[in-house]
């Protein structure tokens, strides 16, 4: 075993619930979500679109939308609950790589100025130091003309270059943790591969921990050593990436990987759809679609049951379901 994962995790999410008031009632977007990002490790959160991945990151980053509440749970970053302890707020202390590099930069400000403002508030040193650090990072993310990039506006970069900018910015304040929300979905396949390689390399080199959200199993396997599979706002299964992808235990994970070995999209040919966030079924959120469901699946939501080798699954009948 490597030293990775030893000691306390850098981020641990415990029984997190997020509700959003909407016109159609209270949407229970996340419920009882628990996982931990080991120090120096990379954890991937995987799930189909709408399962709550972005909301999870927004809760961690402290930027939940209007009307959102956290009725339950904790987000421990460096052992302090950033949800309740205002002084421990994660803003600026967790590097964030957003989903869409085209929309995440303000079009009317120079790239350098946008990032320098973040560093002014969250990194020690003078503006000069900050500029030097940024140029250094621009070089590290292999941006052409690193020195000139500071003075350019976002529209003067290509999509891939903008994502490189954002990766550099995420590292600028020397965070212990970087979170990324599907950072390559807006890019073409070749650029995608380059960016992922870069991200992986930089985080390993610097010993950073990574929380990585994706719906792409290929990306997941390339970047993350741990995985949490999300279905309808609950963790269905967690464990080492290879083990979970090769031998999924939760009926949802198993069906998903059977229909789509590459991406988490919908369950093809399986009756039913992902429940609306305002009308979650009681008990296990997957039970109405589960071929192995029983009467008591509609009762109490099943907790994550620990299995061997650091795995856990939120289905008490996973062993029986496997035979069926």
């Amino acid at each position: 075993m490597s030293i990775m994962g030893e000691g306390r995790p850098v981020l641990s999410v415990e029984n997190l619930a997020v509700h959003i008031r909407t016109d159609a009632g209270v949407a229970r977007i996340l419920d009882d979500v628990t996982f931990a990002v080991p120090r120096g490790g990379a954890l991937g959160v995987v799930g189909e679109s709408g399962c709550g991945k972005s909301t999870l990151l927004r809760a961690i980053l402290g930027i939940l939308p209007r009307g959102a509440t956290v009725p339950k749970g904790a987000v421990l970053f460096e052992d302090r609950d950033i949800l309740t302890d205002r002084a421990a707020s994660a803003r600026g202390r967790i590097g964030f790589i957003p989903q869409d590099p085209y929309l995440s930069l303000n079009p009317v400000f120079r790239a350098g100025d946008q990032f320098l403002e973040i560093m002014r508030r969250h990194a020690p040193g003078s503006r000069r130091d900050h500029r030097d650090t940024l140029v250094e990072l621009f070089r590290a993310v292999q941006l052409p003309d690193p020195g000139g990039a500071l003075a350019k506006y976002p529209h003067q970069f290509s999509g891939g270059q903008r994502q490189r900018l954002l990766i550099a910015a995420a590292l600028a304040c020397e965070p212990a943790l970087v979170v990324a929300d599907e950072p390559t979905t807006a890019l073409d396949v070749t650029t995608q591969r380059e960016i992922l390689g870069l991200l992986r390399q930089l985080t390993t080199e610097r010993g950073l921990s990574l929380l990585f959200v994706t719906h792409d199993f290929g990306v997941l396997a390339a970047v993350c050593d741990q995985v949490a599979v999300l279905y309808a706002g609950r963790v269905a299964e967690t464990g080492p990436t290879r083990a979970v992808l090769d031998d999924p235990q939760h009926p949802y994970a198993r069906m998903l990987l059977a229909c789509h070995p590459d991406r988490a999209v919908d369950l093809l040919g399986i009756p039913g759809t992902v429940p609306a966030a305002t009308a979650q079924p009681p008990g296990c959120r997957f039970h109405p679609r589960c071929p192995a469901s029983r009467a008591d699946c509609a009762g109490v939501p099943p907790p994550l049951l620990p299995l061997a080798a650091g795995r856990a699954v939120a289905c008490p009948y996973h062993a029986e379901a496997m035979l069926g």
Partner: protein, 337 residues
């Protein structure tokens, strides 16, 4: 940028040329005979005909138009039929009065309207937002003459804290005119008492004039902010840890005002036409009162000159607005290069 400004100026020229022709035709077809006005009440038909011939008013209208355009092109706006003095001289005195009033009103509308819009957007659907909405509906709906009368009644007559009309207190005199803007000239002359006097006289007319503009600037800023607050880059900046004030008052606002800035250019036209009524009510010695007087006395030379000058000012303001827009939004600057 210089080339862009030049191009915008060149583009404005045909419009101004059209304006000269159109207003000429208009002034010649509206009722009223300038020759009769000039000749006076006791003139004989022969005398009137004589004057008509002297001013070329007996020629076909297209020929008159041609002569007029030629004069304008050589910089000659003619003399007032009414006073006999060169029109350019009379306007030279009155234009700064109108510009001082409209610019001050524009300043008030922007300086109050933009923060109101920002606060309303940040307070979306809250009490402050409702209040701003009320103000902006009111600002557009209230007739300016009614508002002017109310303001005069309260501030000038009831409380007697602001002057009722005019631009200066006669006893106090005016500073030597350099720019024609009394606020500036009084400061240049080091006369704080005159500055105060000029400012006090400006307040009521400017408040009256600015209200519709303030209302629309607040509305445009509010909707611009609301639109921008939805953007991913705001979320990103918040996650990255921008300060609240910096985020909303600078980072987001700069995007939101690109729309407002365009609006200000259009607004300026409304301000100038609004100034005609406001000047009349407050007895403001500007172009508006001059134009009214010119219309009443069929002084078509004066009227033509006023429209041309206002047209030039309007075009200039809009070029300025385009420049500001390019400064605010680098993508616009890119397009024009």
């Amino acid at each position: 940028m210089a080339r862009y400004i030049l191009r915008r100026v060149l583009l404005a020229l045909p419009a101004l040329f059209g304006l000269v022709l159109l207003t000429f035709v208009l002034t010649r077809v509206i009722p009223g005979d300038p020759a009769a006005t000039l000749a006076g009440d006791s003139a004989t038909p022969a005398q009137i005909a004589d004057i008509r011939a002297r001013y070329g008013l007996d020629r076909p209208i297209w020929e008159q138009a041609l002569v007029h355009v030629k004069q304008v092109l050589t910089g000659d706006l003619g003399s007032s039929i009414f006073s006999g003095r060169p029109v350019i001289e009379e306007i030279g005195f009155r234009l700064p009065a109108t510009l001082e009033l409209t610019f001050f009103a524009l300043f008030l509308a922007t300086a109050i309207g933009i923060p109101l819009g920002v606060v309303a957007a940040l307070n979306h659907n809250g009490p402050v937002d409702q209040l701003v909405r009320l103000i902006s509906v009111g600002g557009l709906a209230i007739a300016s003459f009614w508002l002017a009368l109310m303001l005069q009644l309260v501030f000038a007559m009831e409380w007697d804290v602001l002057p009722l009309r005019g631009r200066v207190e006669v006893e106090l005199g005016t500073p030597p005119l350099r720019t024609g803007f009394l606020l500036i000239d009084s400061l240049l002359a080091g006369r704080l008492d005159q500055f105060r006097d000029a400012l006090w006289h400006l307040v009521l007319p400017a408040v009256t004039l600015c209200l519709p503009g303030l209302a629309s600037i607040a509305r445009f800023t509010r909707s611009g902010m609301l639109e921008m607050l939805q953007k991913d880059f705001v979320l990103y900046a918040r996650a990255a840890g921008y300060g609240r004030f910096r985020l909303y008052a600078i980072y987001v606002l700069r995007n939101a005002v690109t729309v407002t800035v365009t609006q200000i250019g259009l607004l300026f036209g409304a301000l100038i036409s609004g100034a005609v009524a406001v000047e009349a009510i407050y007895d403001w010695p500007g172009l508006g009162t001059y134009a009214v007087q010119a219309i009443l006395s069929a002084d078509y030379k004066a009227l033509l000159a006023v429209t041309l000058v206002v047209g030039v000012v309007y075009a200039a303001v809009n070029v300025l607005v385009d420049v500001v827009q390019a400064l605010v939004d680098p993508r616009v600057a890119e397009d024009i290069r």
